[in-house]
Amino acid sequence: MAVTDRVNVFTAIALLLISTGVTAAVLPEERADSMYHSYSGGGVTIDGPSILVRKNIDNKLSLSANYYVDMISGASIDVQATASPYSEQRDEYALGADYLVDKTTMSLSYTNSSENDYQAETVGFGIKQDFFGDLSTLSMRVSLGSDDVMRNGDDDFLEQAEHRRYSIGWSQILTQKLIAELSVETVADEGFLNNPYRSVRYLDPNSGTGFSYQAELYPTTRNSDAVALRAKYRLPYRAAVKSEYRRYADSWGISSDNLELRYTHPLESENLILEGKLRFYKQTGADFYSDLFPYLNATNFRARDKELSDFSSTAIGIGATYLLPERWALFDRKNTVNLYWDYVLFDYDNFHDVRVHDGDAAINPGEEPAYNFNAHVVRLFWSVWF
């Protein structure tokens, strides 16, 4: 579908939303969240803060601001194979406004992300409306992103990439205890889409290990579609289960499925809400992915990014929200302290661990063991409602 056609479809739906003012919409909650986040796995640690504040003005306008930092250190398997350990920081600033006009919520957002070798700006517009006696909510969002890609150590290297995202969501109350949501999103990328540091390997009889490396080369366009269906059900006692399934496919030949199940259980006498989740993800790799190409420049496009390989991951997560008693609550408002921990196992089918060549073992190229690793993801945050 061409980009202009997508815009036409979205314009038509936006006109529909504006033309059917049936029931009142509600602005998001006024609250502030201060979070420490940490991802640790595969030789890499990424952590930092995220501060999100949202404040309403006259029940018409809701403003939000988010400051988010990724501090990256360590050496992933790619870096261990072909480069040196490094550390860097990504800073992200996001501003948003939601305006309630004639029973329709219209949203604008701006995000700026900067690293020493990557700059990205994204603007987004969304529209949302409740209708059918508040049982249904239709929403859509369009965002446009523009990136500058640089390469450390090479002042002459500067490339661009653009991203367009179009999403539609339909949320539906089905019974007194069941709500479901259907989400569809199309993403179109254009420009320099590969990582300027990453390499592919190819068989090279002149090399001591039997293989050498050359730079990755990706297509300059990528179009993807994702469809997700999620539902939440209130159990006969005060607890809830959530299920979510997403199907994804793109023009690079990648397809994936993921399934998530979540259980939420409040302990009212303890001021606690406990949560547990399971998530399964599986993908088939890109057409131009190979762990080991047969020779130099073997194909028009080439990748050995493990995120583009055949792999699966399994995640298990637990978390707790503690509602602070009044004597501890700041500003005499509702305060919560939250801790979530996720454990994720990544299992690659056709991405091999070339680090075995660092030792004395005589292993033929392509016969290395498949790579796998596990990661710990922690979210610790304090929330206060205004």
Binding site: D5, S167, A240
Partner: protein, 76 residues
Amino acid sequence: MSRRALLILPVLLLLGGCESMMPEPWVKPYERHYLADPIMSFERDPVAAGYMNHVYEAREAARGAEGGAGGGCGCN
């Protein structure tokens, strides 16, 4: 496809104008106390949900359709 988009517009507007033909909402406002419970929202904490979407998007090829907290991370 642009012709198809033009056809969609009147169909959608027609649907919007025919609400009287639609069935009555079957869950009344006073029957929504279970749904109003915070544990029934898909994501209670936007700051935490947005972060997990970022974690997944950075390590998986799939992106999009994350629901309310999605929209891309603006990172490589």
